[in-house]
Symmetry: C2
Subunit: 107 residues, 2 copies
C-alpha cells in the first residue's frame, strides 16, 4: 500500500518561529559556479517545524540540493549550480522564510 | 557582500500548477529505516516553480534529504530516516503540495 494511505496517528504540531532561525556560510555569502555551495542552518531556537531549501533559476533548475541534519536541529546544506546566471535561494522553516530569505544568488 | 544584498534583476515569475506534478518510487510506496529512500518527481507539466522536499518527524528530524535535477524538470529525491517512527514527507511545488502530499511515512 502507498505510504499515504496508511492509517497512522501523528499530526504535525508546529510551534515554531522562523525569525529565530539563522544561517551562515560561504554558500550564502559567496556562492560559486559548479561547486558545492555550503551553509549551515541553526534551528535550535526556532521551535518545531520542517526545513525546506529550494533554488529557483529562471532558465535552468538548481542541479542539486542536499540537506543534512547534524544533530540538535542544526543542519548542513549544500547546493550546486551548473549554469552561470541569477538564482533565488529559498530557506524556509515550515511555511515561513528565515531571516534573509529569499537570497539572491549570482554565479 | 552577502548574496542577499546584491542588486540584481531577476524576479521569480511562477506560472505553475502543482496538481500536474507527479511522483513515484519506493521512497513513497515502501520507505525503509536506515536506507536511502528514493523517488522521482516529474514537474514537466507543472510549469515554472521550485521543488521543496522536507520531512517532519515528531521526535527526530529526517537525517538527510537530497534533491537532484535529472534534466527536463524531472527530479530524483532521496531521504534517509535513522530512527523508527512516524514521519510526514512534504513534496511541494512552490507553495503548493503536489498530489498525495503530505505523505505519511512509518519506518
Amino acid at each position: 500500500s502507498r505510504a499515504s494511505s496508511r492509517a497512522i496517528a501523528i499530526q504535525p504540531n508546529f510551534v515554531s518561529d522562523a525569525s529565530a532561525v539563522t544561517c551562515k556560510g560561504p554558500g550564502i555569502e559567496k556562492p560559486e559556479l559548479g561547486k558545492q555551495n555550503s551553509f549551515t542552518v541553526d534551528c535550535t531556537r526556532g521551535g518545531n517545524n520542517v526545513l525546506f531549501v529550494g533554488v529557483f533559476g529562471p532558465d535552468t533548475p538548481c542541479d542539486e540540493v542536499y540537506v543534512k541534519h547534524q544533530g540538535d536541529r542544526q543542519y548542513g546544506v549544500s547546493y550546486k549550480l551548473t549554469d552561470k546566471g541569477q538564482y533565488i535561494l529559498y530557506v524556509k522553516w515550515g511555511e515561513d522564510h528565515i531571516p534573509g530569505s529569499p537570497f539572491h544568488i549570482e554565479v
